[in-house]
């Protein structure tokens, strides 16, 4: 056992070294100094409080997306459409904010509604990929990718069309929302403790879902052997749809955070690639919810 673990560890170390080697080569090929680059990465991440906060800004959507993907991976699905689900979450959040722009409702309530709206938006987009998969036999990789491109186009259409800034539409996005629509930030940093709490709730929720519940066990059975799970009496296609919906809702929450806590408006690259990055993270942690948070 221990020997095996050591073997695994040295394997992982070798992989890490290889990764550094490749990155260094690429940097050298464009005449950049690798050591300088690594130094900057480290400084940029942990150099001072403000920079560390920036890391957390990225950590929040990444954690939410990864949590969602752990659910779809457990059920054996490659939810590559997660990127589009983040985008739709952001669009839906923006839509809710615009809807209540001149209302008298308390801002806190509007923020909550906007986040719920974002989760619904992500879930609906995921449901599309799910329906294509379950009822149309379209592999979720292709369905998801197609929907990602459509989601990006939809963002640009909205920014340059119906939701454009008065006067000139531009790549800088829609008109920023008033300050009271923002999740409360930490002093003058860009990170909101509430966003961090929501992300942590997301990952803890997924951890317990997968580790301790009947739902999680059934989901795993579906992921490992769809046919046998069906014969064992598990309503398989429903479970596939549930996992799409859960992942979509979490990805939508990530999109909502991007709007409500970071950019305060809809911008063309609102998802910042966190969907794809989350896929990599979820693959790397080997589908084990426990390891998603570094400790």
């Amino acid at each position: 056992m221990i020997k095996n673990r050591l073997g695994n560890l040295s394997y992982q170390l070798a992989a890490l070294l290889l990764a550094f080697g490749v990155v260094s080569l690429i940097l050298l090929s464009v005449d950049a100094s690798p050591s300088e680059a690594y130094k900057n990465i480290f400084k940029g991440s942990f150099g001072e409080m403000r920079k560390f906060a920036e890391v957390l800004v990225a950590f929040v959507p990444l954690l939410l997306v990864t949590a969602g993907l752990l659910v779809t991976f457990s059920s054996g699905l490659w939810n590559i459409g997660v990127e589009g689900q983040v985008v739709l979450g952001a669009i839906a959040t923006t839509w809710v904010y615009r809807f209540y722009l001149d209302s008298d409702l308390p801002p806190t309530l509007i923020i909550i509604l906007a986040i719920i709206g974002g989760m619904l938006g992500g879930a609906i987009w995921a449901a599309l990929a799910g329906i294509l998969k379950v009822f149309g036999g379209v592999n979720e990789i292709f369905g998801g990718l197609g929907l990602n491109f459509v989601a990006t186009a939809l963002t640009i259409y909205l920014i340059f069309g119906p939701w454009k800034r008065p006067g000139v539409a531009s790549m800088s996005g829609t008109v920023p929302f008033p300050d009271e629509f923002s999740l409360p930030l930490w002093q003058n940093l860009r990170i909101s403790p509430w966003a961090l709490v929501i992300a942590l709730i997301g990952i803890v929720f997924v951890y317990f879902l997968l580790q301790g519940t009947y739902f999680g066990l059934r989901l795993k059975a579906v992921g490992k052997n769809f046919r046998a799970a069906y014969l064992l009496g598990i309503p398989t296609w429903q479970y596939s749809m549930y996992s799409f919906l859960i992942c979509g809702a979490l990805a939508g929450a990530a999109g909502a955070m991007q709007v409500a806590a970071v950019y305060h408006r809809l911008i063309p690259s609102i998802s910042s690639g966190y969907g794809y990055l989350g896929l990599m993270v979820a693959m790397l942690i080997n589908y084990q919810a426990l390891w998603a948070v570094p400790h």
């Binding site: 059934r218 795993k220 059975a221 490992k224 052997n225």
Partner: protein, 497 residues
């Protein structure tokens, strides 16, 4: 060709799979290799056919010359051809392409010439094939014949057949045996690997018995079955007498049921199955019995007629509705359809139970698993993954997953590939469920003896036709074999209604 195996040893890690086996097989004999599962037969044959290499010091001597066989392709160069249990052919290809594949020659094969060779060879051995038809339109038995032809064409002088009578009809078995019996005249050697005593006794000139990786004895005809059994298992085993059931209420009732898939149609079947009864389905693979059993499970929708389960109309309802009504289906492909690879025994037992609340009670799951493992005599631990179990133990685990209460058990090849001890155990458990739960059993088997031994009534399938139920106690293997092959239907009739 004379095949001599000298001091064959093979270790897989700590497992000593072949223990110094010495066996001489003279030219022109049909050599039987008998043994239960795990006796080392497959390992020995894989060594001879080049799939795996024996430990150093082992020797294979062909016609007096020591050889080292590196691969199956290498083996065929030496004249050793192997017929695998699942034919290693290409179902979506045309027969001709399947035949051509692997033959040496120029870049562009001459299809016309090869088709001529193909037809010539088929005629010589009395097979009838259309080279332009597709492999997946053939039965398993025909695919075996196709493989035999291919090996003959490649110049095989030694034929290894691995459990070839599994999954083929009685008629095809006869034909296979007739073909094989011609081989010794042409100085060819046949090695027939099986755990079926009857087949070995009927076909082989001599028999070697393996047990626990070692050779325990060799005999020649006349064979004494009880001696062979004792050599195989190290003790005597008997099947016991048939136990007819006392039929109770009607469990499942079919009225004018019609079924249809891409290949086949079954029309207007009417049948009542009673509680406690065992119905055996016999027929060549793909004669319609698979459609029938899937319709009983709700896995296949009927295109006509009605199905009632204990008085409740379930026509057109889903598999899960059937399952809630107490119908359980155990498919033939255990690892593909029956069990979930990567999940433990405990996981399986927990999954098969109705969820109690949201969270899984781990301690209760562990307890449940320990109980089931004990009462079903499974060699494994609660946290063993199902793929780490042997075939027999996987089958027992599947039985342990049967729900309670139970009204109908549907089984596809419940004992395929299992040794006789496991077979007896599994049937005793199944019959037990009939008694305790009043469940009925419907099962498919290609083993006619098994069908007659354990059924009360038998349905024979031929090309979508379904026979009237036969009384298993009054039917012989020969009669059943005839019906399966499509003979004698006039007087048995497709009698329904």
């Amino acid at each position: 060709m004379n095949v001599e195996l000298k001091n064959i040893n093979k270790h897989f890690g700590a497992v000593h799979a072949n223990k110094g086996i010495n066996l001489n097989i003279p030219t022109g004999t049909i050599q039987g290799i008998l043994g239960e599962n795990g006796a080392g037969k497959s390992t020995l044959m894989k060594i001879l056919s080049g799939f795996i290499q024996p430990d150093p010091g082992s020797e294979i001597i062909l016609d007096g010359k020591p050889v080292v066989i590196h691969s199956p392709a290498d083996a065929i160069k030496y004249g050793i051809g192997m017929l695998h249990q699942d034919p290693l052919d290409f179902p979506p290809m045309k027969l001709l392409d399947n035949f051509l594949l692997g033959l040496s020659g120029g870049l562009f094969p001459n299809r016309k010439e090869t088709a001529q060779d193909f037809n010539l060879l088929a005629r010589e051995y009395g097979f009838s094939f259309d080279p332009e038809s597709y492999v997946d339109s053939l039965t398993v038995g025909e695919r075996q014949q196709l493989e035999i032809m291919r090996l003959l064409f490649l110049g095989a002088r030694v034929f290894i057949l691995d459990e070839p009578t599994t999954g083929i009809s009685a008629g095809q078995k006869e034909k296979l045996f007739a073909t094989l019996k011609k081989f010794p005249e042409q100085a060819m050697t046949v090695i027939f690997v099986s755990h079926k005593l009857e087949d070995v006794e009927n076909l082989c000139d001599r028999v070697a018995v393996l047990r626990g990786g070692g050779l325990v004895g060799e005999t020649k005809p006349p064979y004494v079955t009880s001696n062979l059994v004792e050599m195989m298992f190290g003790k005597a085993i008997t099947l016991g007498a048939r136990q007819p059931a006392e039929a109770g209420e009607v469990t499942i009732s079919m009225k004018n049921v019609s079924l249809e898939d891409v290949r086949m149609k079954i029309k207007n079947v009417s049948l009542d199955i009673h509680a406690g009864e065992v119905i055996g389905l016999a027929g060549m693979e793909g004669s319609g019995q698979d459609l029938f059993i899937r319709a009983c499970a709700g896995l296949m929708r009927t295109v006509g007629g009605r199905i009632h389960l204990q008085g409740q109309d379930l026509t057109g309802k889903s598999y899960h509705t059937f399952k809630h009504a107490g119908v359980n289906f155990l498919p033939a492909a255990r690892l593909e359809e029956g069990l979930v690879l990567g999940l433990s025994l405990t996981d399986h037992f927990v999954l098969a139970e109705e969820p109690k609340g949201l969270f899984i009670d781990r301690a209760a799951g562990q307890k449940l698993a320990e109980d089931r493992i004990q009462s079903f005599n499974i060699r494994g631990k609660p946290d063993s993954t199902v793929e780490s179990l042997s075939g027999g133990n996987q089958q027992r685990a599947e039985l342990a997953l049967l729900q309670t209460p139970l009204s109908l058990i549907l089984l596809e090849h419940p004992t395929r590939g299992l040794d006789i001890e496991s077979v007896i155990y599994i049937w005793s458990k199944l019959k037990g469920r009939c008694k305790t739960d009043g469940a009925a059993i419907v099962f498919i088997s290609s083993d006619l003896e098994e069908v007659l031994q354990y059924s009360d009534r038998v349905l024979v399938f031929f090309n979508g036709m379904v026979s009237a139920p036969l009384d298993a106690g009054k039917t012989t293997v020969e009669e059943l074999g005839q019906l399966i092959g499509g003979k004698g239907w006039a007087d048995k009739g497709e009698a329904h209604d």
